[in-house]
Each structure stands twice: as structure tokens, then as C-alpha cells.
């Protein structure tokens, strides 16, 4: 355990499942759109345009805060964070300063040494700036282009206390946070830029270093790992780790210095005079009952309701779509069978293809999956056959029964094997004679004949038993 390491995170989460931006009626779904098409005077910062708070965004933010066990404040204020940057059309970002939406809260993660509560410091709302892009590469482009489609998209900033002790804990925290946000149906983590992270890390005896704007979970773990090594090396050589802000270079997996503490910006926060404080009591009441079952509760319920093992339940709740998928299947076939096939096989096949259960819903509907497992339950197909159907269904599509038929995967039912056994006995009197005289190899020969006739679909042990019974 790297106990001399202290890590804190600031996570910027886009509430990207809402319909409209934080302060104007522009649609949020901009990812497939031409640049600067989801804009209006408000999100372009045109002179005289004024922000109007999107109540649905506040409700979504409150929902998240409540689900993260944070204390939503009875009233909350927007402030201006002043700095110049071309992606910031007003020259300031509407954010929150000393009256954030919520204080405190925690997220529970499962580390190797057991459960750990990651304490949160605060949660506040703010608007996303626009986005710079470059013709060709950032290093060779002669100028930057700006797309304001993202400008004004509602962001939540979730700040943890500096309580994580390893890059892995940071990753576990982010994974868990993402799961919770997706449960709340306010967040789609697959969209580009949906979650951006600032990480601060310090070693005992060293200054605190902030790494800005990391855009992926893997990036966070890599940046922290690099940064810890860098700081450890400095300390080992008796040098000082200075307090500074660094940038994570995702191509080379290193961090580089951006600015020292002295160069820190003064954001000159002050209350946004074009907005009025938000009183949250009514909104909290509206939202409270809409918070769905959270992962922990779901885990317990799945175990209880479906009598499945915790090893399955634990995995199922990692992705709400997977859990839902399982439940739909489990209603139609044996839940235990459903759990093991969803978790062990289907999940693996999806992962292998870089897909998730959202895609499973399109490519292999739960009721079809249940139909397939039903065949297995009635021994109409072998386990090997099931795997083959899953692969075919994912890659080529088609109907379950047709795939089984076309591929000849229907297992032969007992009656049919018995019929073939009788045929084989009749056709091979010599071998039957030998068997009756105690020649054990004769049985193997007869089983072999049955296998031949069924093209390997009969199970040898079972076939042997049937023949023995018939010859008694």
C-alpha cells in the first residue's frame, strides 16, 4: 500500500442526457452536428443576452448530489469565474463558488483490503466552455477554430477530499462514480468529453501537484502513476517537489509543467448578477422520489430475489444495462442459468468486441437469449452449441432457432438416441454377441457406431448407458 501518497480528484461531468443547455434553450445533443449549429445569443455570449437557469439541470444535479449522499444546500448561488480564453464567449464562466449546490457526500469503493469510503468535499454546477479544434494537428495548425456547440452544456464538478492512496483507488472511484451517474440516467459516459478530470497528488514531504484536464479513466491512472514516480525520484534525490499545475500528455504518458503556484490565475469570483439564488427545497422534494435503486441496493435485491451468488450479483450491478438485461432473461428461464451465462459468457463476448450491453439489447434481445438458454435447460443444445449461437447472433444476426438449425446444433433428444442405439444393435449382432460374452471393447465399438450415425452429437457416456440398458 502506497500510504505516503495522497490523491484528490475534481471530476467534471456533463449532464449530457438533458434536452437543453444550462442557461439557454439550445439542444445538448451536439456530438453528431456541424460546428456552431447548436448556438444562440446566450451561449455565444452576445451582448445583451441573458442566462436563464434550466430547472431540469438543477434537478438532475440535485439527484446526483442526493445519490452521492451529499448535503444539498437550501439555497445556492451562481458566480462568475473570470478569465480570458477564446472558448469562453463571455470572458467568464458561470460557475459556483462559496455557495455550491451541495457539500460533503461519499462514494464507496471496493479495494483489495475491503470497502473504502471516498469522502467528497463539494458538488457544484457550471457551464461547459466551447471547444477548440485544429486543422490537421495542434502543433502544425496555423490557427485554432472554435466550436461553441458545447458552450453552455451543464457540467457538475464533483470534488473529492484528498483521501485516495493509489492511482488504482482513483480509477475505482471514477468507475463507481460513472456507474452511479448512469444509474441516475443523467449521464452517458460513452460520449466524447463526457467526463474530464483534474487530479492532485502529493507525497509525504512534497508539494501538491495538480494535473489538469485528463480526458479518460485510463489517463488518470497513467498520469498519477507517472507523477508519483516523478515525485518519488525527486524526493529520493533530496530535491523539492514544488507546488505547481501540470498537463498530462496522453500521447507520451508523461506530465509536463504548465505553471507554478505564483502564476496561478485569480478568477475574481463574484455573484452572477443576471441570475437569482436558487431555493432548493421544492426541487429536492420533486427529485427525491425519482432516485432509482442504486448499485448496492440492487446487488442485495438480486441475491435475494433470484437466489444467485454474490459473485454474479456484484458483477451484474457494475452496468445498469447488464443488470436490466439479466433481470429480463431471468424472468423467462432459471435465474442461476441466466446469471452465469450473462456474466460469464455474453459479457465476455461483448467485451471481446468492444461492445456493451446497450448493444446487446440491439443485437441479442433478452427474450431471444432466454429462448436459447431454454433450449439448454431442456438439453436441446449443448453448452458448446450455445456459445456458437451467441457468437453467430452477435456477428451475423438471425433468429436463434434458425441459427441452431442451419448449423445443425440441435442436440439429439434421448428418444432419438435410443432409436439409433436399437438400430446399431440390430445391425451389429457380432459385437452384441461379444459384449454379452464379456468383451468390454465391444461396447465401445457400438457407442462409436452411434456417434458416427449422429455425427458426434450424442454424448458417449449417455449412449453407453442406453446400450447397456438395452442389452440387459
Amino acid at each position: 500500500m502506497e500510504s505516503d501518497v495522497v490523491i484528490g480528484l475534481e471530476v467534471h461531468v456533463q449532464l449530457n442526457k438533458l434536452n437543453t443547455k444550462l442557461f439557454c434553450p439550445c439542444p445538448i445533443s451536439y456530438h453528431q452536428s456541424e460546428p456552431n449549429t447548436h448556438v444562440c445569443p446566450v451561449c455565444l455570449g452576445m451582448p445583451g443576452a441573458m442566462p436563464v437557469i434550466n430547472k431540469e439541470a438543477v434537478k438532475a444535479a440535485i439527484k446526483v448530489a442526493l445519490a452521492l449522499n451529499a448535503e444539498v444546500q437550501s439555497f445556492t448561488v451562481f458566480d462568475r469565474k473570470n478569465y480570458f480564453y477564446p472558448d469562453l464567449p463571455k470572458g467568464f464562466q458561470i460557475s459556483q463558488y462559496d455557495r455550491p449546490l451541495a457539500w460533503g457526500g461519499y462514494v464507496t469503493i471496493e479495494t483489495e483490503s475491503g470497502e473504502k469510503k471516498i469522502q467528497l468535499k463539494r458538488i457544484h454546477m457550471e457551464e461547459d466552455p466551447g471547444k477548440l479544434s485544429y486543422k490537421g494537428s495542434i502543433t502544425t495548425a496555423k490557427y485554432s477554430l472554435i466550436d461553441y456547440n458545447r458552450s453552455g452544456v451543464p457540467l457538475l464538478e464533483i470534488v473529492t477530499e484528498p483521501v485516495m492512496n493509489s492511482p488504482k483507488e482513483a480509477r475505482l472511484f471514477l468507475n463507481k462514480l460513472r456507474i452511479i451517474l448512469e444509474y441516475l440516467d443523467v449521464f452517458d459516459g460513452n460520449l466524447e468529453g463526457a467526463m474530464r478530470i483534474d487530479a492532485n497528488v502529493s507525497l509525504k514531504g512534497g508539494g501538491r501537484v495538480e494535473i489538469k484536464n485528463i480526458s479518460s479513466f485510463k489517463g488518470v491512472e497513467k498520469a498519477l502513476t507517472y507523477e508519483i514516480t516523478r515525485q518519488r525520484n525527486l524526493l529520493r534525490r533530496g530535491r523539492k517537489v514544488v507546488r505547481e499545475t501540470r498537463h498530462f500528455d496522453e500521447v507520451n504518458n508523461i506530465t509536463v509543467s504548465l505553471r507554478s503556484k505564483e502564476e496561478e490565475q485569480d478568477y475574481r469570483y463574484f455573484p452572477e448578477p443576471d441570475l437569482v439564488p436558487i431555493y432548493t427545497e421544492e426541487l429536492i422534494n420533486e427529485v427525491k422520489n425519482t432516485i432509482p435503486e442504486m448499485p448496492e441496493e440492487k446487488r442485495e435485491r438480486l441475491i435475494k430475489q433470484y437466489k444467485i451468488g454474490d459473485n454474479f450479483a456484484k458483477v451484474l450491478v457494475l452496468d445498469i444495462n447488464m443488470a436490466n438485461y439479466f433481470e429480463e432473461v431471468a424472468k423467462l428461464v432459471s435465474p442461476k442459468l441466466a446469471a452465469s451465462w450473462v456474466v460469464d459468457v455474453l459479457r465476455g463476448e461483448l467485451n471481446y468486441r468492444d461492445w456493451d450491453f446497450k448493444i446487446a439489447y440491439e443485437k441479442f434481445k433478452p427474450e431471444e437469449f432466454a429462448e436459447l438458454l431454454n433450449h439448454l435447460q431442456h438439453e436441446k443444445i449443448t453448452e458448446k452449441g450455445v456459445v456458437e449461437v451467441i457468437r453467430t447472433k452477435l456477428d451475423e444476426g438471425g433468429k436463434v432457432d434458425e441459427i441452431i438449425k442451419n448449423k445443425g446444433l440441435f442436440a439429439i433428444v434421448k428418444d432419438e438416441i435410443e432409436k439409433i442405439c436399437k438400430e446399431v444393435i440390430e445391425e451389429n449382432p457380432k459385437a452384441v454377441e461379444d459384449y454379452k460374452n464379456g468383451k468390454k471393447q465391444a461396447l465401445n465399438f457400438l457407442v462409436g457406431q452411434v456417434m458416427k450415425k449422429t455425427r458426434g452429437k450424442a454424448k458417449p457416456a449417455e449412449t453407453a448407458k442406453i446400450i447397456q440398458k438395452l442389452l440387459q
Binding site: 445569443p41 455565444l44 455570449g45 452576445m46 451582448p47 445583451g48 443576452a49 441573458m50 442566462p51 436563464v52 437557469i53 462568475r80 473570470n82 480570458f84 480564453y85 477564446p86 464567449p89 463571455k90 470572458g91 467568464f92 496555423k142 490557427y143 485554432s144 472554435i146 485569480d266 475574481r268 469570483y269 463574484f270 448578477p273 443576471d274 441570475l275 437569482v276
Partner: protein, 456 residues
């Protein structure tokens, strides 16, 4: 000179074509020495006049020419805030008040000159040159809505101004017209290019109380696009009653102005009870006002970086150099001064000392007013502490700031106040400021009607 009013204009419209009247008005403006307009809306105005003549322009202000202050956005009509940095800016949308006057059939004559970004008391900081006082071309028309003050009754019937610390009342006083700064939240600020959002309101300017009421009834009201809008509509009701009127001791002026003021006060006494009231917090009001206004301004004006609209450079440069150069070349001296002072007041280590302290003063000012309105229905004072200045007379910024001493406490409190023209000293107009309680414009306007009659 006979001033234009809605009534007189409508009388002429009965016998003459709107097209001819509006053409005649533009001829007069084009020959005018006042420099009251930055951009004329001639083509569109003449088209509207034709519409009126064909009976297609309807509404409460149908066919009435109006000047709109150049910090109020007008769709497809250049809006500069009297700044080089917006010298070519054509807004894609109308301000709420502009929508309303258009709906009521008003004809926008043009965009009136003002102090750059409304930062001034004389309209001398305009990139487009100073506005001259209609009574003496060597003197200022007041500010920051100097153009609106000068055109009312002369180069338009009505005008819209905006008032952050006296910017409607000062030019109203200096130009001898009526100018109302409404209760904060009565008129939507949507489309008002902000100088100091928490202080300012758009308000009507007119040459008689009746016209002022007519315009205020049109522009006041609900607008969901301004979160600070109170959602109230205004409908004037004539009420004849004896009022308790308090003279604010701290709001004074030079002897010439005070003599005129008390001359009118004596006449008012014949009908109403007149007393005096002390406002101890007012000695801090001016300082608090400037700290808050400049702080908000420093942030409001950060958007002018030459990237999306307005003044831009031909040559690309690194971001920091580019926007710094745009701002260095695009903003005037007074604007830069206020941005720098405001940024300073908000910066780490000074925020508590300046901005928060100013907010505390603001609360004290509100409390003083609340106390005064327990005792009085209206408060009065001279609007400006002096007669209109000679152009260039107030070279020192601090002396200039001090001219707002009687008007800024009203903005700090968010109260309504009206400047009434009460006569002339040496041929120059004098204004009386009438302050009412929150959303009690009705009492102010009733009183104004009486004073207007009294002095006629």
C-alpha cells in the same frame, strides 16, 4: 420652442402623411448640431411610415417616432454602445423593450449617442463625439443617455434610455425633459448591453408626463428571459391625494440649482405635507456605487475580444497578444479605467475590503430608504448638483464621478426615481428628482402630473 408630444404628433398625423412627417424629421436630424444619433434607421423608419399611411401599423404608439439608446440591441440595426470595439456590431436580436415598442407600432428613428458603455455623466466618452445641449451647444446634454435626452421632443417624440447611476435622470435634467428610472425588475433588461447588471434599468424619456406614462406602460412587464424581472405590468391610475413628501438633506446642489428647487418646493407645499429626512449612509453611497458598478463592468466587458463580433484585427496573433491589442485599441480611456479599477476591487485579497464592503453599504442605503418611506410617500431632491457643464469642463474623473452623488443611492436600493423639469436658471434647465417606494411609480407619476400643471 414647442416640444413634440404624442398628442401634437397625432394631431399632425390627422392632416399629414406619416411619410412626410418622418422625412421632415430626418431632414431636421441630418442638419442638427446636437450629434444625438449614432446610427439612423431612415430606410426602415420611412417604410414603417408608409405602413402607417396604409393603415398597416397599429398599436398604442403607432406612428410615433422614438430614439433608442445605443446600448439597447436592435435586430439588424447597428448597436455600438458608443464604442469603437462595437463600431460594426449588428445584433441578431431585439431587446425586450424594442420588441414591445415595435409591437405597439412605434417608429425607431435611430440609435442615440451615449457615453461609451454608459460610463460617464456627460456623453463626452462616446467614440462618436459629444452630444450637445439643446439649450446651449457649448454645454453637455448629460449622460450617459445624452443622445436620448437631447432628441426627446425635438428629433423624436420619445426616447428609451438606461440608468445605471443616473444615466436617464441626468440628461433628462440637463435637457429639460422627463426621465424615469424604474424600480429594478420592472422593465426587462433582456437586450440591454450590460454595464452594471445589478444596478441598471431601461426607462422612458418624454417631454410630458402623459407621454412618459404611455411609453412606460408599453415597456414595463413580464419577460422570462430576464431572471431578475419581477413579472409585473404597469397601468397608470390617477389618484388625487395629499402626500407626505420628504426632502433628502444629503442630496444637494449649488445655490443656483437649490434656489430653483426650493422655489418649486414652496409651491408644492400648498397642497402636500413637506418635511426633511436624513440619510446617514449616503456619505458612503458614491464610493460603494462605483466599486459595484466597476466590478460588474470589468466582467461584463471581458467578452469583447475581437473573436466573434465587433472590432477585430486583420492579422492573426497569439491569443494573449490578439485580444489584448483588440481591447487596447477598441476601448476608450474611461472604459479602461473602470475595467482596471473593477478588476482590482474583485481580486484576491481586496474583494472583502472593497466589493463585500460595498455590498454592506448597499444594505445600509436600502435600510435608510426603508426608514424614510415609513415616514414619507415620496422623497425629493435636485436631480443634479449643478447646471449643465461646459464641454470639457469636467476633465478630472473624480469630479465627474461626484456629479452622480444625488442619483446613485436610488440604483443601489433599486428604487424608482423620476427627473422632472422644473424650470430654467440662466437659460439652462433644472431637474427635480422624485423618488418613490418599490413599484410605486404610480405615486411618482401622479405627483409629476401635478407639478407639470403647477408650473405651466
Amino acid at each position: 420652442m414647442e416640444m413634440l408630444t404624442i398628442k401634437s404628433w397625432k394631431e399632425r398625423l390627422e392632416s399629414e402623411k406619416a411619410y412626410d412627417l418622418i422625412s421632415e424629421l430626418f431632414e431636421k436630424i441630418e442638419k442638427s448640431k446636437l450629434n444625438a444619433y449614432i446610427t439612423l434607421n431612415k430606410e426602415d423608419a420611412l417604410k414603417k411610415a408608409e405602413d402607417f399611411d396604409r393603415g398597416k401599423l397599429k398599436g398604442r404608439l403607432a406612428g410615433i417616432p422614438i430614439g433608442v439608446k445605443d446600448c439597447i440591441t436592435t435586430k439588424n440595426l447597428r448597436t455600438t454602445c458608443a464604442s469603437k470595439i462595437l463600431y460594426n456590431y449588428i445584433p441578431p436580436f431585439d431587446a425586450h423593450v424594442v420588441e414591445r415598442i415595435k409591437e405597439e407600432g412605434a417608429i425607431i428613428v435611430g440609435k442615440t449617442n451615449m457615453d461609451e458603455f454608459a460610463m460617464g455623466t456627460t456623453t463626452e466618452t462616446s467614440y462618436f463625439g459629444v452630444v450637445r445641449n439643446p439649450y446651449d451647444l457649448n454645454r453637455v446634454a448629460g449622460g450617459s443617455s445624452g443622445g436620448s435626452g437631447a432628441v426627446v421632443g425635438r428629433e423624436a417624440v420619445l426616447a428609451l434610455g438606461s440608468d445605471t447611476g443616473g444615466s436617464i435622470r441626468c440628461p433628462a435634467s440637463f435637457c429639460g425633459v422627463f426621465g424615469l428610472k424604474p424600480t429594478y425588475g420592472f422593465v426587462s433588461r433582456y437586450g440591454l448591453i450590460p454595464y452594471a447588471n445589478s444596478l441598471e434599468q431601461i426607462g422612458p424619456m418624454a417631454s410630458c408626463v402623459e407621454d412618459l406614462i404611455a411609453l412606460f406602460e408599453v415597456i414595463a412587464g413580464k419577460d422570462n428571459r430576464d431572471s431578475t424581472n419581477a413579472g409585473k405590468e404597469f397601468k397608470f391610475e390617477r389618484k388625487d391625494r395629499k402626500l407626505r413628501i420628504g426632502i433628502v438633506k444629503e442630496m444637494t446642489a449649488d445655490d443656483k440649482v437649490m434656489d430653483k428647487f426650493y422655489e418649486v418646493v414652496e409651491q408644492v407645499k400648498s397642497k402636500h405635507h413637506v418635511g426633511e429626512v436624513e440619510m446617514p449612509s449616503f456619505k458612503y453611497a458614491l464610493a460603494a456605487y462605483y466599486i459595484i458598478a466597476m466590478s460588474e463592468a470589468s466582467s461584463n466587458l471581458a467578452r469583447y475580444d475581437g473573436v466573434r463580433y465587433g472590432y477585430a484585427l486583420d492579422k492573426l496573433d497569439s491569443w494573449n497578444r490578439y485580444f489584448s491589442k483588440v481591447r487596447a485599441e477598441g476601448f476608450g480611456k474611461e472604459v479602461k479605467r473602470r475595467i482596471m479599477l473593477g478588476s482590482y476591487a474583485l481580486s484576491a485579497g481586496y474583494y472583502g475590503k472593497y466589493y463585500l464592503k460595498a455590498l454592506k453599504v448597499r444594505t445600509l442605503v436600502k435600510n435608510d430608504f426603508a426608514r424614510a418611506f415609513n415616514e414619507f410617500d415620496l422623497l425629493i431632491s435636485p436631480t443634479m448638483p449643478a447646471l449643465p457643464f461646459k464641454i470639457g469642463e469636467l476633465a478630472d474623473p473624480l469630479t465627474m464621478y461626484k456629479m452622480d452623488v444625488n442619483t446613485v443611492p436610488i440604483n443601489l436600493a433599486g428604487l424608482p426615481a423620476l427627473s422632472i423639469p422644473i424650470g430654467f436658471v440662466k437659460g439652462l434647465p433644472v431637474g427635480m428628482q422624485v423618488i418613490g417606494n418599490y413599484f410605486d411609480e404610480n405615486t411618482i407619476l401622479n405627483f409629476a402630473l401635478e407639478v407639470e400643471q403647477l408650473l405651466n
